[in-house]
Symmetry: D2
Subunit: 256 residues, 4 copies
């Protein structure tokens, strides 16, 4: 049977990424079983017409039966580079990760869902890794509090942090990163709050008003202290309770 | 050229709806140009294998060059029934509709976007129409206010109303329906608020705390008074500022 | 601390559903760990102002540590009715379920993801259950094949079936239901196909052309034979390769 | 009334982007009325605590009453920089743009919807503009055609091109760019096709099989010839008819 993908290509264009996208698979990431959505690509030399995408799916399917951690990202990329006979590969894995939280007063336990992704890229032997976590928060508006005789508008917000690393040794855990982010909020968010907890978070948020810019700056300061990071981005988005649009702030920084 | 759709079908199943979905077209609805997403179907007699879907698209394409109101829904359905040689047709049109709002103190004008749909169905000469509007609101939690020494959690909410009619005469306008819904909120929402407005809506919401169930009941009472409605549903969803999930309430009612 | 939810309400409106929505939790459903998105509501008597939503979250959180099957839906609903002191409760759980498939020639194994939901409702002691599975398929257009000298347009399609039951005894499994649906396609879909498999599915689909209406009717015939079903709906949607919109068909049927 | 945003900030962090997101407004872009979704941000000097977001909404609201073209992006950014007293601003506008297409044989006219965005950024007097268009296409698999005795799998694909410019003079129109992209497909896509047209596109696609990598390379070659572009990206995604995931390719290029 003819191998059409292996036909010689004369257009002279090396393709930077080609592969599969929106692949859903059950994976075990950092000891938690997750529903992963995966984008997995390799580069394609200018000489060949197409890549053999089924090999990428074979590699992924193998990982549905064993736990995956940051360190394995390298094996996955190396296997792709080897099997597809190329020099670069990239994988991006989106998943929800659940962390346990105790309500602040009643101490009732519940699970909070965090939208995370890990990404690994190997470009001609150069490694790059990203860990990203998005944490839901409460923000209470300092302006609204200051100018109003009572009350202050507040809302659910999402703060997303992306950390870039050169290598996967000693990378901060999702739990630690999430904790660090939610400490900068007007108040953390919980799935389960009894009445005494609701009183606590309401008052805590009122006593700790923060603009979207305040959260952003406080998270930036906290992230700067994380070990090993070479570059990071922080974005914060408030689902404003008084508008039908969102307030947004973004910052990126290289760490020398 | 063979007409495969017209082949005789022996399975004995009359299909209730067959047609086209996720059709995007620019339409003029209630004098406003909108970006419509359309689902347009007809029934298919048990004798034929398939319907001629391109005829549905021809009918829709004609309406991109002239204004469409509730009354025209009948013509569209009748044309489909006639051209597809059947007895039933249904159209569902989703669109964003913009209404102008004056900020409460500064009177600055801005536009608020409402997610709306109109739906028409003719089943063997029986007509049914739906007008649906979703209005963003502010809700402030009565429990949080009561139990806290200061502050109260509040959030953006969406209240959706669906009104069902037998005929399209004297149907309430989107503007009127939206006004009626937002009057039941802790406070309406605005796209543009200067500082004096923000003070106003913050204090207004604090003085008017409402559960998702309160909004729902107050909207139900308001909707009952609308002329001509034979059945309606109301749903209200709060994007809780203290949780990563939403509070939700739903009610439906037949009007005899 | 005041119980504001328990305040007497004078509006005279019994609310049909009030509760929590867009709750993400890890659950074990039919022996598979899934990422569930849950809507969980109860009715609220006309006498009380609000429901105690944190109790619904407490009930759900308990189920993150033990397996859940259709039979447990009853316990969940009964617990909600009891703890919220009401007469009706409803739960809707969306999740992806993975089934293993062997490629048709190479027999390579891979996982196919199915969008499923289970729903249970108890209204004043009357039980109702829904099992719904959406299966991705290939459809090849009979008209395009017939009128063209070579080739035929084909595309990915999704066929969704909803089965309603009075009780949860002897309910068909997701695997069986998925198999039954995909047997009606021009060809099933696989995550992993080697070259000999791709030849097989291409030729199989070409030899088995089906309109969206054909799939719908064949699935209807198959579903009619499932034990215990009292009502069902089938919908099929083709992501047409020659259009930027979808072809769609829908059918519902009561089984006496 | 206190201006809390104007408070002195001591954290020493200049914020790169702060502003509003998910703003929906009706705009007239390139002479077509569109439903725009807008993200509009400015930088914030390290000395101030927050930006005055309502001023961004005021600027946008003004543009709902007059046509907007690429050249006006500069005025919008300059106005933001001026009114917010900063040195950098950025605007991103997503919208659907409709282009008319004649069916290939019957010449029936219909509208095709394209997902577009324009983006403008001014960073300390340095201008950057992006025009992006996503065009739906048909792709037919060369491997499937080659190895199969009859038929070949094909599917809807989306090809997205982003063009970056230093200035807005002589920028290619959306219509031209869309034409240029769809000429590289196995066949263009149409909203309305009569039987003779369906025969035409089916046979055309079969005679013109292309991998996702083929489309990508052919679009890259075409885009290189566009006047004035300093950098571009192309991505192509096939909604594979034989898989439940997508095939994907990406390329970026700097033009010196």
């Amino acid at each position: 049977m003819d191998d059409v993908q292996n036909q010689i290509d004369n257009r002279g264009i090396k393709i930077q990424q080609t592969g599969i996208k929106n692949v859903f698979l059950p994976l075990v990431i950092f000891d938690q079983q997750v529903q992963a959505m995966i984008k997995f690509t390799v580069s394609l030399t200018k000489n060949f017409r197409g890549t053999h995408m089924s090999r990428l799916m074979e590699i992924l399917t193998d990982w549905t039966s064993k736990p995956l951690s940051m360190i394995n990202i390298n094996s996955i990329l190396d296997e792709a580079i080897d099997k597809l006979n190329t020099d670069s590969a990239k994988i991006h894995i989106d998943f929800k990760y659940f962390v346990e939280r105790d309500a602040p007063v009643s101490k009732k336990k519940s699970l909070l869902d965090l939208d995370c992704f890990i990404e690994g890229e190997t470009i001609e032997k150069q490694r790059n890794f990203i860990l990203s976590v998005a944490v839901p928060l409460t923000t209470l508006c300092p302006c609204s509090k200051e100018i109003s005789n009572f009350g202050a508008h507040n809302q659910r917000s999402i703060c997303r942090v992306q950390l870039h690393f050169d290598n996967v040794d000693q990378i901060i855990s999702i739990e630690e990163l999430a904790k660090l982010i939610e400490m900068q909020a007007s108040s953390p968010i919980y799935s389960l709050l009894k009445r005494e907890d609701e009183k606590f978070v309401t008052e805590a948020a009122y006593q700790n008003p923060k603009f979207v810019e305040d959260i952003l700056r406080d998270v930036v300061i906290a992230v700067r202290k994380i070990h090993n990071v070479k570059y990071f981005t922080v974005e914060c988005e408030n689902f404003e309770s008084i508008h039908n649009h969102n307030a947004f702030a973004f910052h990126e920084e290289k760490i020398c």
